[in-house]
Symmetry: C2
Subunit: 385 residues, 2 copies
């Protein structure tokens, strides 16, 4: 059987930095790519073959994207899974599958699926009222986590319920009864990690090395690879990620966020059915990046080697506080003078405080050295307006 891969056209829903980094790999391999994104100047705009400027709930635009391409994928999980299911019902290929997306979109059904499959998760329960919140407090103690079941990211959609007296405020903060909620026991962890894994159409699974994620204000700040945890914990985390790919019948890249407890046990926190910020280190740090493997998987190609080339540290570059408007980047000259430093700038025309504008990756012969260089580079780069 001959497969004429050059003629495959890829549709990507979402034209942000994740879509852009997918595209850079797709173009390297010669694929034609169509992007759907409402923003005319989104990061994907200039490097895709066609840009459908439409909102993410425009089902007609989804249909058009399907008609123009051979396979559809997406860079974020908050899209209408039902609309994707309609496309699939017409015979169009959508990866990851709408069925897996739908379960994952709802953090409650996601956790229930993980629990049923025997994966370790923090204790959780659905919350439909303030009475349920009080019950959660009795069972888990305070503080515990209150989460919107759908739509959250970068800490948005989460609230810490500090005490019984705080229930009213937390309830109001998360929609005051208008959105579906769940409660989770607060986990005392020594490290947050995320395991990137990819599954191909024929069921092969490739898992990336374990990284140590450091968040600031609930936004990923830094990923250090390899993580400083015992081999046993790394292995069990990678095994859990592999199992996640199987139970969700995942196709493409998934990110499995986990907690590592003080006694080196792992607990699965959340799943993102897409390449993830915490996997940006794979571009320079691994033989095959998460973006190349995602593209390979969704077009039906075999997966590449996920081995780490050398210790790697990634730091996010966010828009500086106090600046909004046309983005100006400075400090690249000083940052790039540091050995082993690569800087990715996403080409977003507008900056605002805490907006993800780029990232720094440093490879070196130890995590400590890579981190010291990355920290220095990070101090040089400023995104202002």
């Amino acid at each position: 059987m001959e497969n004429y891969f050059l003629n495959k056209k890829i549709g990507i829903i979402g034209g942000g930095q994740l879509g852009q980094m997918m595209l850079l790999e797709a173009k390297k391999m010669g694929f034609y790519a169509v992007v759907l994104d409402p923003s005319e100047q989104c990061p994907c705009h200039s490097i895709c073959d066609e840009h459908i400027v439409a909102s993410f709930d425009d089902e007609q635009a989804f249909q058009l994207l399907a008609e123009k391409t051979d396979v559809i994928t997406y860079e974020f999980e908050h899209i209408n899974a039902k609309a994707l299911e309609k496309l699939e019902a017409q015979g169009y290929k959508v990866y990851p599958t709408p069925a897996s997306l739908e379960i994952i979109q709802d953090k409650l059904t996601q956790k229930e699926t993980l629990l049923k499959a025997g994966l370790p998760v923090p204790e959780f329960m659905p919350v439909k009222s303030k009475e349920d919140m009080a019950k959660a407090g009795e069972i888990y103690g305070y503080p515990y986590m209150l989460k919107a079941r759908t739509g959250g990211y970068d800490g948005k959609g989460n609230a810490v319920v500090k005490s019984y007296d705080h229930i009213d405020e937390a309830y109001r903060e998360l929609g005051n009864g208008t959105i579906k909620l769940m409660a989770e026991k607060m986990i005392k962890f020594k490290m947050e990690t995320s395991i990137l894994a990819c599954r191909s159409l024929n069921g092969d699974i490739a898992v990336y090395p374990v990284g140590d994620n450091i968040h600031i204000d609930s936004i990923l700040h830094k990923t250090k690879v390899p993580a400083n945890i015992p081999d046993e914990a790394s292995k069990s985390a990678m095994k859990a990620a592999s199992k996640v790919m199987e139970i969700f019948d995942g196709i493409g890249m998934f990110c499995v966020e986990m907690f590592v407890t003080n006694d080196n046990k792992i607990l699965v926190n959340e799943i993102a059915p897409r390449p993830h910020n915490s996997g940006h280190y794979t571009i320079e740090g691994c033989i095959t990046s998460q973006f190349e493997n995602h593209i390979r998987a969704v077009v039906g190609l075999p997966l590449g080697d996920t081995s780490l080339i050398s210790p790697t540290v990634m730091i996010n570059i966010l828009g500086e506080e106090g600046y909004s408007g046309k983005a100006l980047v400075s400090g690249l000259d000083k940052a790039l003078a540091l050995k082993g430093t690569t800087v990715h700038i996403y080409g977003k025309t507008e900056t605002k405080p805490k907006r993800k504008m780029g990232h720094i990756t440093v490879t070196s012969n130890s995590v400590l050295k890579a981190e010291a260089i990355a920290d220095e580079a990070f101090n040089y780069i400023k995104i202002r307006s």
Copy 2:
């Protein structure tokens, strides 16, 4: 001093695969890019911000490109250096400089410059007539090389003068007196190599590891890195490349093709003032690729680390004999299943015999292993129509 790099716009003359690989790096760093190329569907078309569809001798289009951008570079050396000089005279930045380009474009002035600087080159002389050709035969013996002084590539523009009786035919073959010629002594070499080097605006020079180039029908077939030559020869080759960057006042990537003789001496053959096919291995094989370093250099950023990550072999993918027309790529599925294999496909819509359509790169823990895998991958991939 603050430098706002994101706002720098880069103009690239030539929208082929070299331009495309420059662009992929430029977009990674967030730069705006305008490409000038006569072909509406050139490989750069879909990933540049603007495409000026114009011929390479259209001075008005050059002017437009200059007005739209902050710095102009180019992916091939056969362009009108005088037109670039005019832009420079108006204050526009063009790198590599038109002055260095002009000397390099003429292989005679190029060789004279190298010789004057004390670099080892094959013996050469200008040729203005068949009488000069006979004289070259007397001095160098037969066979010797007859070369068009300008415009050649991939062996085009070169003829081997086999004997005194062959002079007429070789003279006719290279324009019959209509183009400027030179003669060169035929070198008995054990290896052809090319040293990639980059020089930044502030004069820093970074040299890549030495590769062993294998040509088939005068077209590069394979590059193996590191080359299997003594350290001394590698060092003298890298030193010579560094000197080349200085004497031509080079800015950006240069490729210095050299012969390694049986007694491990090096002779400089030809210079290309741009990233080069024999440096494609640097994308996966080195910390910073030739394309990233070229972009860094022309926008005034410091150069990245050129160290080899691991032994690497690159093989070109050419259009198969007997097929012309809409390109169909097969075998990616089998090739990418091989460990450490990356396949670049340039996205050219039309194939023809021997057209450069893509390349394979394999990294492994030895050149032998990488070569075995690359050979196998190469056998799987077919470009037909």
